[in-house]
């Protein structure tokens, strides 16, 4: 089956202040750089209940990650791209 990935970025007050807008920008750019617009959908969500931890809460297929804007790049390489590859192999 055709695999599609949803990445949901928290834009609640707390995450907003920790830089969700920057993360959204970085991820948007990376998605278009890798031509993944068909496979990856970026979404926003209000508070996802992870406010007390450091970093912005980002949800990939139900799994929560906490990332800061400087980690967004490596998050994309090691989580998003890797996951896509694995799914494609299946």
């Amino acid at each position: 089956m055709y695999y599609k990935m949803d990445i949901t970025i928290c834009i609640g007050s707390s995450c907003h202040l920790k830089g969700s807008q920057d993360i959204i920008r970085i991820l948007e750019r990376l998605v278009s750089y890798h031509h993944l617009e068909d496979k990856v959908t970026l979404k926003g969500s209000f508070c996802m209940g992870e406010c007390t931890s450091n970093g912005v809460c980002v949800d990939v297929d139900g799994k929560h990650f906490k990332i800061t804007p400087s980690e967004a790049d490596s998050f994309f390489t090691f989580e998003v791209l890797k996951r896509l590859e694995e799914q494609e192999k299946k």
Partner: protein
């Protein structure tokens, strides 16, 4: 039925003058609104003093329950006499609108009050009588929600005289222009600002006289329900949402967690856009059946800021642009200012653990304070605020 009176005015100073010779006073008493427009003789400092005295005396005396005769007599006897013209003189209009819809209009030498209903100019039938040697016109009528009344100084009626128009704009044209404008613009501040703008254009930006318009709109009752903050006890979630959603009127949800609760209880989906119309504010969301869904404390603090800036600048077009911006805070502010006579606030008092993080800016911990401030501002504007805590 209680009438809600939305009043706003805007003055243009005569070109080159720092002070305006027209003065408007709007006061709200327990069961009525009294608006006074006074136009002092001449222009500049002298006119400003005359009109300020006139409007303050009338407004204060009527507030305290004096009759119009007493007020007029007091003015005639106390105004300083102009050295050049040997006159003590300021024209004035008084409009009192009771909460039950009775209107009482008193005019002395000002252009007649413009009364608009359903986009058409209505005739008023004034009676004349003498008070302290002055010819005063008096009129009693009733108003309905949707009616617009305008008091203008003669600078408006003579707009453009000798410049854009030979004989000025004249009363008939002003009133029919305003009647048409009421079909487009609904709020009093916007009407006052656009009339003033038109006048300024006719004067080619060099007003030949102080020009003041005071627009009063009788607003139909409109309720805005706002839910903010999760309840202290999680079991109360369905209760707060039920109370909120069954309350008639417009609905705003303010707060991410609150939005999640509403969506969960109503079993509807939240859609959140990633469209940052304003980089410093989180984007708005959408829940079917809710008019506006926004993030909480950041948006609210901006809304309060907008309202604070707006007070005192009701008719400055700059602030309309601020209100027309497409960010959550401006949308809330606009709805509260222009589409709201009653605010019902459903407040959950739970403490957000995220907001207790010392690493976050202090303004996050003060949501309750923000809501109190918001209520205070709206009450000052004559709106009724009801608070329900959960």
């Amino acid at each position: 039925m209680k009438m809600h009176v939305d009043a706003a005015y805007r003055s243009l100073n005569k070109y080159g003058e720092e002070l305006c010779g027209d003065k408007v006073m709007i006061s709200r008493t327990e069961n009525s609104t009294i608006a006074v427009l006074a136009d002092g003789l001449g222009s500049g400092v002298k006119a400003n003093i005359l009109s300020t005295l006139t409007s303050s005396i009338i407004s204060t005396m009527l507030d305290e329950g004096a009759t119009v005769e007493e007020a007029v007599e007091t003015i005639v006897n106390t105004l300083p006499v102009c050295n050049v013209r040997k006159l003590a003189y300021s024209t004035f209009s008084i409009l009192q609108i009771s909460d039950n819809g009775d209107a009482y209009l008193v005019e002395f030498d000002n252009p007649p009050c413009i009364f608009i209903r359903n986009g058409e100019v209505q005739e008023l039938e004034p009676e004349f009588r003498q008070i302290a040697g002055k010819n005063i016109s008096e009129c009693r009528f009733t108003v309905r929600p949707g009616d617009v009344l305008a008091l203008v100084s003669d600078g408006i009626i003579y707009a453009g005289v000798g410049q854009a128009l030979n004989f000025g704009w004249n009363w008939d044209n002003v009133s029919s222009w305003l009647a048409k404008a009421t079909l487009k613009e609904k709020s009093a501040p916007r009407l006052a600002a656009s009339l003033s703008q038109a006048v300024s254009e006719l004067y080619l930006d060099h007003p030949g006289d102080d020009s003041t318009d005071l627009v009063i709109r009788i607003t139909p009752k409109s309720v805005v329900n706002m839910l903010s903050g999760p309840p202290v006890n999680k079991e109360d979630d369905p209760k707060i949402v039920h109370d909120y959603i069954t309350s008639p009127g417009k609905h705003i949800v303010c707060g991410g967690t609150s939005a999640n609760i509403v969506a969960r209880v109503l079993n509807r989906k939240i859609e959140t856009s990633l469209n940052y119309t304003d980089p410093s504010l989180p984007p708005v969301g959408k829940i079917t059946g809710i008019d506006l869904v926004t993030e909480g404390v950041l948006t609210l603090s901006r809304t309060v800021q907008l309202l604070k800036d707006y007070v005192g600048h009701e008719t400055d077009p700059f602030y309309f642009h601020k209100l027309d911006e497409q960010n959550g805070a401006a949308m809330i502010a606009k709805m509260l200012l222009e589409n709201c006579t009653h605010l019902r606030l459903f407040v959950g008092k739970a403490i957000n653990p995220a907001h207790q993080n010392p690493g976050l800016p202090a303004d996050l911990s003060i949501k309750m304070k923000l809501l109190d401030e918001l209520c205070g501002l709206l009450e000052k504007m004559g709106k009724t605020v009801e608070r329900l805590y959960y």
